[in-house]
Subunit: 188 residues, 2 copies
DNA sequence: ATGATATGAGACGGTACCGTACTATAAATG
DNA sequence: CATTTATAGTACGGTACCGTCTCATATCAT
């Protein structure tokens, strides 16, 4: 295994994600990546024949495993914790920085759209599963709509992050959870 | 009043918004605007000295007045109707097409960020007011959190529009409203 | 009608980025 | 050590867009 190749891939993919986050999908260009990665342009093109192939490769980097949620506490606490992780991922992760650019790029590049859809669906699934389990365990009413609730919870966090000047903070999360689960859980 | 100037402004601003929607903030360039507007580049630069001034001017065009919501029906119906309008505005309006590009641009241009924040805040206010009135009228519990509910409702719609392949449809809106107001209103 | 003004058409230099090609050097492999 | 392979550095032609400029033409105001 050639160390030179490993190093090149590592540096370039890192630089690509950083650039995507800092300057957006549009300003992303091969020469900037090469310069930021400390790699020559010829090397860059040897590994990734085109700009899109590099971006596609870089996006893989963003697919992180969400930590397995702890199962202690009541349903409100568990959901709150999960949402705090989500809020964190949407404000302070590499993905967070790239998200606006990806949303824009998704309009014109199906692969990017697919990536976004997968990413959001994947994160939402965990939340839906959590809520479903709570329904099954009798912590939530049997007619509780887990899918819609998950959309509303995730949506509020995305919305605040993308369309308002102040993203959700951890302190505010219990209020959000209470608003969606609150009255429903009061039937317990 | 010179008709030539009116025509130029009208055509150019229209072309600018169209282009912003079709090809995104990045691909937005003066030559494309001129060509699309059927106007020469020299004319373009006489009216708007720079690209950003044109964009700023074009954004004003997007500020449409939301129709005054009808006041008939119970609170669920009124909210549902308002949300349908919102969903419509997020999928089929000139603003809708521009939104992804604007979200991306907001990262680097404070004016664009400000525009987005104002736009979303403005739309949310109507919803919050509606919910507050319902609380005051006893249609919703006194401890109902109108702000958070409005965030969750709007958020779900934005989220589906931006991060998933299928935006909210009118048929699904009652289910969303029920999930957020549903159990709360059952106390009536 | 006549002078003022807005427009059309396009050339222009400048800049930035694309993707390719070539050579010389450095590092890995066996 | 000898050979293969990856890289640096850089020049290149091509394209796209910026913002400026000039000049001829069309349209307005009075």
């Amino acid at each position: 295994m050639d160390k030179r190749i490993e190093r090149t891939r590592r540096e370039v993919l890192g630089a690509a994600i950083a650039l995507l986050g800092e300057r957006g999908y549009a300003a992303f260009n091969m020469e900037a990546v090469a310069s930021k990665a400390g790699v020559s342009k010829s090397t860059l093109y040897r590994h990734w024949p085109t700009k899109l192939s590099l971006i596609a490769d870089a996006l893989e980097t963003l697919n992180v495993q969400p930590k397995p949620g702890p199962v202690d506490g009541d349903i409100r606490q568990r959901v709150t914790m999960l949402l705090c992780h989500l809020a964190e991922a949407l404000t302070a992760s590499p993905f967070a920085a790239c998200m606006p650019g990806l949303i824009e790029a998704a309009k014109h590049h199906a692969e990017v759209a697919h990536f976004l859809h997968e990413y959001s669906a994947h994160r939402r699934e965990t939340l839906v599963a959590l809520l479903r389990d709570a329904v099954a365990a009798g912590e939530l009413p049997v007619d509780f709509d887990a899918e819609t609730a998950a959309l509303a919870l995730s949506g509020a966090i995305f919305y605040r992050r993308l369309m308002t000047p102040k993203p959700y903070l951890s302190e505010e999360m219990p209020a959000l959870v209470a608003a969606i689960l609150g009255s429903a859980v009061s039937a317990e």
